[in-house]
Symmetry: C2
Subunit: 225 residues, 2 copies
Amino acid sequence: MPSIQLDLKVPKSLSAAVEERIRDAIVNAELAFGQALPEDGVGLAMGVSRTPMREALTRLQAQGLVVIVPKKGTFVFDPSPDDVDQLAAFRLMLESEAVRLSLAVAPEAALAGLRAAHAAMEQARRAGDGRAYARADTVFHASFLGQCGNGYLAKAYESIAWQVAALRAHLSVPRLHEQDTSFSEHAAMIGHFAAGEAEALLAILSRHILRSAAVYREAIRVRAG
Amino acid sequence: MPSIQLDLKVPKSLSAAVEERIRDAIVNAELAFGQALPEDGVGLAMGVSRTPMREALTRLQAQGLVVIVPKKGTFVFDPSPDDVDQLAAFRLMLESEAVRLSLAVAPEAALAGLRAAHAAMEQARRAGDGRAYARADTVFHASFLGQCGNGYLAKAYESIAWQVAALRAHLSVPRLHEQDTSFSEHAAMIGHFAAGEAEALLAILSRHILRSAAVYREAIRVRAG
DNA sequence: CGATCGTACCTTGGATACAACAGATGTGCC
DNA sequence: GGCACATCTGTTGTATCCAAGGTACGATCG
């Protein structure tokens, strides 16, 4: 066994690179909801052919980020107000279970992840970097999942986390007031987690998730008219 | 609008047909766990080329039924005892929530589905058709999901239901005693559902799922040595 | 005899060419 | 002016070809 570890940058496959790029574009709101993604459009712009592009789109469809309509085209997913509610409900369900599990299985590791993410949130808040704050927010919630010990649960969460991130990027109105509320709620969650107070934590989590869902729902409803 | 319904067999895409065929082969135990699935092997046997085969395999990977190892090949998924436990736990979590939701949202529709499935189970049991019984069993549990009103929850369940079905086909030892227990448990669940007794139903469901998980886990452990 | 290197084969990864289908657009007729 | 039809374009669906990586086996050298 080699004693040193040189993490050689393995050139990931083109399809993986394309998938990642498009996903970033969606969750960073570079692409609008419902926007068409012809196979030879984005692909050629990146210098790749249709084959990896197709694979990337297929995988993105499995993640719910794009919708492929046979013989018509591929489009960025376009959630209805109802979708937002259902997504939030499902997210809350997964995350609640992850909280209970991680609390039972690996509370120290999860707590470390929460604190690190919260520190990153604080730094981003001081710097006024909304995007970094959002990223840290994502990491915070992913901490529960990473330590819950159930790979299927974690995978299911991943498959919707991107959609949640996209909603946040597209629909959030960055008000500092909101961010303050969010920040203190996260702090409270850490406190309850450290104390092993699952129910109190879940109450905050539920409020937290359902409140943002209401905001997104309203934003979509208004936009759609 | 045509007044008659001739369910004209829409020529689904080749990739969809291949996907379905391979999935059937896996959940019907025609293919062993870990078996290699070279792109030009199964494909050519069905007379299709590698491209639709690749798409089918990509989607099957998203469903957890196959594992694609870059530059090595594609293989039927091969769950470890731990995987079985986690899968069962996740399934129980999804299905419990679906029970609560369907009970709250559309109890009549769900109940109709349950009764229909249970009737099919009884018929299959009388006929001694184990495969038909298993299919009806799958339909029974899917009834909760179909009426829960949350598409994300239903989709997540679908994505693991195939794996559960595959476990059942590969590892079940068809003992009539087991089937009797299963049958009466399902009847009890219908009774509790009709009476709106969620907790009693969930207790049976939990026993039901965890018991079969223990069987599968043991079967895998023994097989692996 | 064993370890290591080279090579051949098998696999997937990607590109391109062709075919088929859906929708839009324009045109002619009524 | 409106409707029906043909065409035309843009898109996906499929097949085939070439390239590159990984594995296993055998040869070769110590």
